[in-house]
Amino acid sequence: MSPKSLFEKVWDAHQVVGETPDAPAVLYIDLHLVHEVTSPQAFAVLNERGLKVRRPERTLATMDHSTPTLDFAPGETPPYVNEAARKQVETLEVNTAAHGVQLLGWNSDNRGVVHVIGPELGATQPGMTIVCGDSHTATHGAFGALAFGIGTTEVSHVLATQCLLQRKPKSMRVTLRGRAPANVSAKDMVLAVIAKLGVDGGTGSVIEYAGEAIEALDMEGRMTVCNMSIEAGARAGMIAPDELTFAYLKGRERAPQGAAWDAAVAHWRTLKSDDGAQFDKEVVIDATTLKPMLTWGTAPDTGIAVDAAVPAARHASDTKAAQYMGVTPGESLQGLKVNQVFVGSCTNGRLSDLRAAAEVLRGRKVADDVRMLIVPGSKSVRDAAEAEGLHDVFQAAGAQWRQPGCSMCIAMNGDRGEPGELIVSTSNRNFEGRQGPGARTVLASPAMAAAAAVAGAIIDPQTLSEAAHV
């Protein structure tokens, strides 16, 4: 048998009907994640046609995008930003109840951002096909699953048939050779990868991330990397599962138990690219030279090292982006005044991210005129952070400790920036207005974001710690 890549192994195992020149493959979906924003019109299609959800047990719903992150008392109506948001969440409650789909709702201890909760519950497993009406579904690829975002029409297809019509994507391998320096986080690595590939460098492809620097990451770091695959245009990102993957999943609520666990692990061990597997494209990056990264522009591929200058404009879009951001080619970003700092999202809203932010904030204060929001990716993350006292660190520093949700990553629940404000954000998109009309976004790691909050300006976290030791 000819050698296969990890992606091909998962793809082949899920083809119900192979593709032909006339029609795409019918691909079976193991896990369908659903949230309130991209599902109402899909459930409406089912309801109009009198169809049922084919596999409710393979469907898992949560609410995260439109949900407020402010506290409210039990029994009170959550403080929604507007009526439309309330109606959207309630529509999900009605739809999931009518179709027998489990919803991790307001009363669930497992509620959270859709890409945070899947792995936490052990619902995300190696070798699975996973889809969601959400472009950051690639996050789950950190476990060796083939996971990608779909549109709402396709959500209706999966609800009704547990299948999707898909053409086989191309494959790409991105190898991060060598070990990254200790101050380089997973976020820095993926920002560097996207800067190298460009926002469309991965279009049409599934990326497999490999190499020593990737293997050295913990599962949360691997999720951060796979999460941002779409920012290079890729359909999905994957990392071959290993002992770390199995250790993470063992004992989780939805993971296989007992003999089924042993059988699953035996199968999972086969899920790696064979020697000699072919990729449509190979990219190699030297991880040993990477540095902490920041974006200067309005697309995620504008990452530069913290000590680098904003590059000269390559085309008109760059000039426009620099103007929008208020940055000058040839100058460093350091010293740029910051108005808000957001730590959270499915990119950097997990426990290790909160720990990294807390490490910087411990014993320090958020600058007076900076608002800092710390939004855990899920209720479980929030509970775990409180169990180790991280919330005390945040609150003592003057940051706001919020309830879980997407929050300022997408700014549709009322948490947002004002026109002209500069936000250092651990999320994944710095598009114009992504965090509020006219708001400007600098993407960074949790450590970088926390340092900016303390300094009130963009600063190399390393400089901050030196200053503190004077």
């Binding site: 119900v16 009907v17 020149p21 006339d22 029609a23 795409p24 019918v26 079976y28 924003v37 991209t38 109402p40 019109q41 409406a44 299609v45 046609r49 084919r54 995008h65 439109s66 930003v81 948001a85 109606k87 959207q88 529509t91 009406g133 959400d134 472009s135 975002g149 779909i150 549109g151 709402t152 029409t153 396709e154 209706s156 297809h157 009704a160 048939t161 547990q162 299948c163 019509l165 053409r167 926002v199 469309d200 279009t203 049409g204 245009g233 359909r235 697309a299 085309h315 008109a316 879009s317 997408i410 700014a411 549709m412 947002r416 998109r429 598009f431 114009e432 207005g433 992504r434 009309p437």
Partner: protein
């Protein structure tokens, strides 16, 4: 033209050019308008933040605000149109506004798939033709879907690729869900063999 209409055979209309590269789905429809539970009426907020001041006033200098879309069904956009999120609200909004085709030198994957499902023909043009279209605002263009050909009059006409099934669905008004439902036996067999 819609998912359930009788089909898209050809289209003759004028172009409207948005030369900016990487126009992302947050530009096409900002996230705060995604709280809707319907797919109707989103044309009112398409490119909202380009068309309106943050206080809500109409931006007089934004050409979209005075565009006669009934005569300009074809949006010509800079490279990598539709990047960003998977929100199908983007093609819903463009279609509701009145666009029926998007031409760029590159179109992001999920947007491309979503567009074809909602009566917006996504066309990837060769660089020369794309450059010509960007440089010539408001020209008459004829799209022949069956022949997969775009006629630019004085410009460099070209042929384009489209996924054959998407073409079939667009031309015949075929519903992909019906196609999948017709494979239910195969799906059931697949499930049985795995369990």
């Amino acid at each position: 033209m819609s998912e359930t209409a009788t089909g898209f055979k050809s289209l003759s209309s004028r172009t409207y050019v948005m030369a900016q590269e990487n126009i992302d789905t947050d530009q096409i429809i900002p996230a705060r308008f995604l709280t809707t539970t319907s797919r109707q009426g989103l044309g009112a907020v398409v490119f909202h933040d380009w068309r309106y001041e943050s206080a809500g006033a109409v931006k007089e200098d934004e050409p979209l605000n005075s565009l006669d879309v009934t005569a300009h069904r074809i949006l010509v956009a800079g490279r990598n149109f539709g990047c960003g999120s998977s929100r199908e609200h983007a093609p819903w909004a463009l279609a509701d506004f009145g666009f029926q085709a998007v031409i760029s030198s590159e179109i992001a994957d999920i947007f491309r798939s979503n567009a074809a499902k909602n009566g917006i023909l996504p066309i990837v043009a060769p660089k020369a033709a794309h450059d010509w279209l960007l440089a010539h605002d408001d020209v008459e263009v004829t799209i022949d879907l069956d022949a997969q050909r775009v006629d630019l009059g004085n410009g460099p006409s070209f042929e384009f690729d489209i996924e054959p099934f998407a073409k079939h669905c667009l031309m015949e008004g075929v519903d992909p869900l019906g196609f999948l439902m017709a494979r239910m036996d195969d799906i059931a067999q697949f499930e049985a063999a795995r369990s």
